[in-house]
Subunit: 387 residues, 2 copies
Amino acid sequence: MTSSDELLVVGGGIGGLSAALSVAHTGRPVRVLERATEFGEIGAGLQLAPNATRVLDRLGLLERVIDAGVLPDRLVFGDALTGHELTRLEFEDFPRRYGAPYVVLHRSDLLDILVDACRERGVALETGKHVVEIENTTDHVVAHCQDGSRYRGGAAVGADGLRSGTRKMLSDDEPTQSGFVAYRGAIPVQDATRPAELTEVVIWIGPGLHFVQYPLRRGEIYNQVAVFRSPGYAAGRDDWGEPDELDEAFSVTCEHVREAKRSLWRDQHWSMHDREPLDNWLTGRTVLLGDAAHPMLQYLAQGACQAIEDAEVLARCLEQHDSPQWDKALRAYQEERIPRTAEIQRVARVWGDIWHVDGLAAMLRNEVFTQRRHDDHRHIEWLYGGT
Amino acid sequence: MTSSDELLVVGGGIGGLSAALSVAHTGRPVRVLERATEFGEIGAGLQLAPNATRVLDRLGLLERVIDAGVLPDRLVFGDALTGHELTRLEFEDFPRRYGAPYVVLHRSDLLDILVDACRERGVALETGKHVVEIENTTDHVVAHCQDGSRYRGGAAVGADGLRSGTRKMLSDDEPTQSGFVAYRGAIPVQDATRPAELTEVVIWIGPGLHFVQYPLRRGEIYNQVAVFRSPGYAAGRDDWGEPDELDEAFSVTCEHVREAKRSLWRDQHWSMHDREPLDNWLTGRTVLLGDAAHPMLQYLAQGACQAIEDAEVLARCLEQHDSPQWDKALRAYQEERIPRTAEIQRVARVWGDIWHVDGLAAMLRNEVFTQRRHDDHRHIEWLYGGT
């Protein structure tokens, strides 16, 4: 058993590693306890908006992130039924406006960059460490692992994702099933059945479905995600979300989307969850971060971005309060982060509803989108703005 | 029995009298057969958009219409729940842009003006003439009245309203019940509980309801209409639309609307109907006009306006084709009028749906309305524009 004033980070995903690296930058010792036998990420593509790339820039990682990914020119929303463009958001101006660019990259590429940076900064990275209990004492924490090992630290960060074990110390809530299913596919760009422009993030929206397309890894890989409301889930069936539902859901879409859908992986799919916002992330000296704290639906593409924001705020709060003041620092962290992430969890749900409306509401939605001036940033300023 | 080449107009409402007057202007003899014992109009307020006031101007009646009514400064849409303005349409520019002003006046005042003008033009005006059958022969029509009298004419116009008997010659369709109920009240302006600006037409819109306020008769009378979706109708009850439903429906609205609602008449109410568009208005030498041809929901305030448009087109078609060519003229009239009025019938339904949405769709609707530039006329150009 170690006996240090280390920060223990439970979970070595994007949130946990970002937190570890951010805190290590302040000079504190940090140890990451990852359950899996190696670091890895599920899914493929990841969108990083300027509120996250600003943080990565301050961590000295932006150049590596850009090198590993793609700097798209714009985000385009299209009508999945008609194939017509609804609105677009140009990214060219983002560095001037928001202090950093919009980047898309492979999740595993970002994870590799974070692992390397953590190593360079002296973060202790442990794999195969499944934390089954975190013991809060008056002045330290002890993480008990399934393999019998224990780690003592000054405080613990629960960054163990949607199905966080750490969160159980605070809440008996469960993930909220949205009833939507995602099919993904990240394939060599030359194998893509029907890519959109390789310089664009394209989101096709339609009744109860959407389809996302964008390039990864310097344009070598093409990433696509199809999401739809499962009729089987709505009907209470056990075998919901199977490929026949995918085909049926997308049969109404325009030719471009139907063609593009053909290159998705059909052997696996993911159901989409979030949770209700919590009003407390802290128990003793253990605090939540990332999806463990605020799992959100993907419609604002802010899951990873908010985990990265968490990481920076946590490090700043620890810096502003001396180590004996762990409690004060952790309270300051959650006081700053809970309102913002709760708002984003809520808005992400509404944003999904807006994408998926049908009939008259879709007509109104399309009117809102097509009438929007391309240089109107009012709906994203609150998300991407700041420092 | 008369034996002339007169045009017989069945129904002496706004549509019938406008048609009679327009045709009389071309020099043709016209006879109006009105079922009631005197000319009169149900309802109170009437909105005349420039597409109708342009016609009235060409008939030499615009000055009288303006003198009898009010020239409002603008139309304002408000959110019935919050009381906030959503958008506005300024009327100041209308004479330059559309060739005529927007006028609101009492229905009976417009009817009086039309009756007087018809008399001045030598139109034969008959009341107490309930036409029960129109006989089409090869070269004339005979209108048979319930009192046994018969009128022979060159052609007949069925302008007998929503529940038109003439229409039965062409279609066995029935009015479509919208399930919405209207309560009205036109009262001395000093008795109005809570008038809006006296220079405005104000339409408060909310979930399943709306409330209209505007002045009439040089500002002496204040006209209000409350419309709501009847829960009793939806439940299949016989006694639907009673005042308790009115009170319940409007209990959720802002204080201004709740206060204003207090001055409505509670002893009568109207259910709102339209019909599906017909693709033929003509049988023999009998043709439909106004509500008999294209009854529409009130959301575009175009019911009377379209009847007035019908009247002018009918007169023009009769002028362009000689009397022996009645058939040709009547066909030309319906070919011009059916597509336009069918489109307005359809759009009026959608427009009503847009006013009455709830939840997310209302949020989107409010976004569309509030984002609209006040000088953006794209959504009315097709309706008010033309010559």
